[in-house]
Structure formats: C-alpha cells, structure tokens
C-alpha cells in the first residue's frame, strides 16, 4: 500500500517536473526567437528594400517587395557624377585592405616570435611597453598621427600610404598579444629537434612556427580584413581625392546626396559594399567565433 502511494507520488512529481521542463524549454526558445528576430529583421528588411520601389520602401514592415524591381541596383551601379562608382570604390577599398592584412600578419608574427620564443637585452621592458599599447586608445593618437603623416606627405597619397605603411610595423597590438598567447601553448620540442637538425631561427620560423600558428594567423587575418574594410575614420582623414574614395566613404556620401528620395539606391549601394564581408563571414564563421572566444577567455 505504502509503496503504491510512493510510486504514485514519484510519478506525479515526474509529471510535474516534465511540465516544468517543457515550460522552461518553451520560454527559452521564445526568448531566443524573439531576440533573434530583432537582430536579423533589420538586415532582412534591408535586403528586401533594395528590391522595392522608392514609393514602397517605407510603407510596410514586410520585407518581401510587392513589385520587385532592380532599379535600386541599376542606379547604384551608375556613376554618381565624378569619376567614381561603387565598383571603383570597392576596388579602392581592397587595394589597401589586402596589403594591410598581409603586412599586419607578417609584422605581427615576427614580433610575436621574437617576444614569445627569445630572451634578449631589454626583452621584458619592451614586452611591457607592447602590452601597455593595448590600453592606449586610438582617440589620443589620431591628431598627432595625422600631423606626422602630413609631414611625411602621406595624407591624400594615391597609394594609401598613411593606411598601409603603419601596418608594416606591427601596430595592431591585439594581434601580437593573441599570437604570443597562442605560442605559449605550443610545445618547444619540434623547434628543438629542428635546431639539432641544423635549422636556423629563420627556417624554424617558416617551417615550424608559422604552420603551428596557422589557426591563430587565420583568425587575425579575418578580423583585420573586417576591421580594415569597415574602417571609416582612417579613409576619412587620409583619402581626399574623390577618385580614390573607398566604399565606406562612397556609401556615406551617396547617402548624404540621395537620402530622402532615392533610398533603394542608397540601400543597394550599402548592401553591395558589405557583400564581401558577409560572404567572408559565412565562409569562415567558426574561425570568427573561435578567434573571439579565445581572445576573450585568455585576455
């Protein structure tokens, strides 16, 4: 009799727990979907809006166009007066973004290798200075850097010298820090073996360190690519010939010129300008997530 009652009680308890479990599950998914909607909806609406007519764009929350048109894209590709259009602007963007990424990676790996694997006179003080740079905000450097680059003749340079040259000198402290952290977790055995085999430090760097650092290098490259191609203030300060404007500046200017009457064109231009970033993100999603988690957890 008592065992019966116990079993009933247990069963009732289990039912109650199960109900609660289902309820919790429901609440969680509800919150996730709701917040997710707020996150993604603006982007989806934007994609839809680029295919709408200007009279339709702001009339409905529905992202699907009633009368789909590619007029926005046709207009976006037209030159907006002057000798620049969205394609040229994007070509301009990548003509400094790609060198920036390459130079940043090379200079950061060299620096991380030097700090992470060697002791030399002044190592510790230089390492501390390097780390201190993590906390030096860019806002205090903008003006004096501008004045310096102006003296060098880099402001308005057709080769984007003010944007590219500093990346040759390991100025992205965060990446050096990330690479040094990664190096700390890489065992020395392979390098020792290579040294016994007669490899010098440069050969060790190329043949052993770089391959082992590859995951970290890839995520540094991806982040640098995103940051550089989104950079607005840099080109705003250092590029001043319209034919050399990168996509960021071009999009801003076409918004200023067109908004109020030609939003489908403005939004189409914007969307084209971030297409490469969207593609890179979806191709390398996991590297982005791993990169940011690793940096954060170790930092």
């Amino acid at each position: 009799m008592t065992t019966m009652r116990n079993e009933e009680a247990v069963a009732a308890m289990q039912r109650k727990l199960k109900r609660r479990h289902i309820w919790n599950l429901f609440v969680r998914y509800f919150v996730l979907v709701l917040v997710g909607l707020f996150m993604v909806y603006p982007l989806i609406w934007m994609v839809g809006a680029t295919f709408k007519t200007n009279s339709e764009i702001f009339t409905t929350l529905n992202p699907i166009p009633v009368n789909p048109t590619t007029q926005g894209y046709v207009d976006a590709m037209k030159s907006s007066g002057g000798n620049i259009n969205i394609w040229k602007a994007m070509l301009n963007t990548y003509s400094y973004v790609i060198p920036e990424v390459i130079f940043t990676i090379i200079s950061s790996v060299l620096t991380a290798y030097g700090f992470g694997r060697f002791k030399f006179k002044g190592h510790d003080i230089m390492f501390s200075l390097m780390m201190a740079m993590l906390f030096l905000p860019q806002v205090v450097l903008n003006i004096p850097q501008y004045l310096l680059y102006n003296k060098f003749g880099w402001v308005g340079s057709d080769l984007y010298l003010a944007l590219i040259v500093p990346t040759m000198f390991a100025t992205e402290t965060y990446f050096i820090f990330m690479l040094v952290q990664f190096l700390h977790n890489v065992p020395h055995e392979l390098e020792e073996a290579a040294e016994i085999d007669g490899c010098n430090v440069f050969q060790i760097l190329i043949r052993i360190i770089v391959p082992m650092l590859m995951p970290a290098i890839v995520s540094c490259a991806l982040f640098k690519f995103m940051w550089s191609s989104n950079d607005f203030l840099g080109p705003l300060l250092y590029v001043n010939t319209p034919a050399k404007y990168p996509a960021t500046i071009f999009v801003k200017l076409s918004m200023d010129a067109d908004s109020g009457f030609n939003w489908n064109r403005v939004l189409a231009t914007s969307l084209i300008s971030i297409m490469p970033n969207i593609i890179v993100f979806f191709l390398a999603q996991n590297q982005f997530i791993d990169g940011i988690s690793a940096g954060g957890v170790k930092g």
């Binding site: 409905t60 190592h123 200075l129 905000p137 450097l141 040759m168 801003k252 914007s270 940011i292 690793a294």
Partner: protein, 300 residues
Amino acid sequence: MKKKTKWESFWKENIGFVFVIPWLIGFLVFKAYPFLSSLYYSFTDYNLFSGISKFTFDNYVNVFKNPAEIKSLTTTFKYAFMTVPLKLVFALFIAYILNFKIRGVNLFRTAYYIPSILGGSVAIAVLWKALFNDDGLIRMFFANFGIDAPHFLSDPSWALFMICLLRVWQFGSAMVIFLAALKGVPQDLYEAASIDGAGKWKQFFSITIPLISPVIFYNLVTQLVQAFQEFNGPYIITKGGPLGSTTLMSLLIYNNAFTAYQMGKASAQAWVLFIILMFFTILAFWSQNHWVYYADDDGR
C-alpha cells in the same frame, strides 16, 4: 666542436631582438612619438595653418568651462553608461540561455553575431538612418495606426538613445565571449548546488557569475574603452545633432581638429578623454581584486 667567438655568442643571445625591430620602430614612430607630441600640442594654440604662437593652459580650462565642451563630455558619459551595461546584460542573458542544451544553438549564435561583425560598417549606419529617420520605416509603421511616433533622430531627447541602440544591437561579440566562458563552468558545481537546494537564480549569482567574472571584467573594460571612443554612429547618422545632443567627445575632437584645424584645442580634449579612459581602466583593474575570481593564481 668549434669554439664560439664573442660575436657569435652575442648574436645567439640577442637574435630574438631582430624579430622585434619592426615593432620597435612602429612603437617609437607611430605610437610613442605621436602620444608625447599630442601632450605637447595640447598646451599650445596650435592651428594647422598658422602654427604655434603661444603656450597655454586654456585648452584644458575650457573643457570644463565652455558649455559646448561640458555638454559633449556629459553626453559621452551618458552614452557610455547607457550602452555598456545594456550591452553586457543582454550579452550575458542570451549567452546564459544559449548555454542550455538548445537545438540549433549555432544558428542562433550566428544570428546574434552578424550585427556585431557588420555593425561597424557604414552600410549599417545607413540602414539605421533608413529605419529611424523622420520618414523612415519605424515612424511610417506607427503612422499606419495613426500613432505619431517620436522623431527618433531629430528629437534631441531621443537621438542619443538611438545611437546607443545601434551599439546595444551589436552585443553579439560580447555574447560569444560569455558563451565560451559559460561552457567552461564545470557542470558538477551546478549539480552539487542543486542537491544543496540552491535554485537557478541562486546558482546563477553564486556560481556562474563568480566563475566567469574574469570574462565579465574583460568585456567591461573593452566595451567601456570602445564606447568612450564611439565616432561612426553619431558622425554618419546624426552628424552630432540635433542641437549637439549626439556630439560625443570623439566627434567634438574631430570637428575641432579637422574642420576648424585647432589642433591644440582638439589635442587637449583628446587628452581629457584619454585620462577619463585611463581612470576607468585603472579603476576596473583595481576593483578586480574585490570581485573577480581567478581559479589559479598563475592563470594570469
């Protein structure tokens, strides 16, 4: 074995230095020199075209005397202290839910992360303007129901809030960092706690929060530093207006330096912002002894 010469052993001991030479040059030329020269400029009346004619403390005095500058400073504080807590609370809340066994966790994570990765771009600022402009989507939507929604971007009491919202919307990267940290909290701690009768809330505050406090700390510092330097949002969306209600310090500095060419004045403003940032960074580092829990002392 061959005997090593003095030169050879010196070379061997200091070869590592060769690898950091590029960094050292970059540090001296692109960081240290500009940093110190801007301190120097901040005590002058440096104008880009007429140069320096005198040394003065006025630049610093004005930051705390001139109404426009005081307003910009308080706006920056408002902006940072609205954006950072909201962003972190959202990030932690969503990461906490995602950390349960959720189907399609990767899909959700991607959806939340996209705004962060694209959000810095001008295109997203343009989108924000399309959404919240006076004749933009949101106001039109309310108008359909006969509701006259606030003028989000042209009403001084709303504009700053919309700029904040743009950054809060980008809580994804902080969330990804929180999620990685939450995955690192050992499950047996929760099991032990629930045997002891601790509820979910209690577990959250007495296990989760302390164990991920280093990551909260990291996110707090990085987000504060970012928020105090925010530029793109107000520059592109509101141009600092209406009535200066979104003129953050970085925007004021930009305007003074690159439209009025008053390099001395702008440098002083940048230094004030820098000192404020250092103050909060140091405060955060100092305070971590009281609330940040590190599992092992040599872990950091």
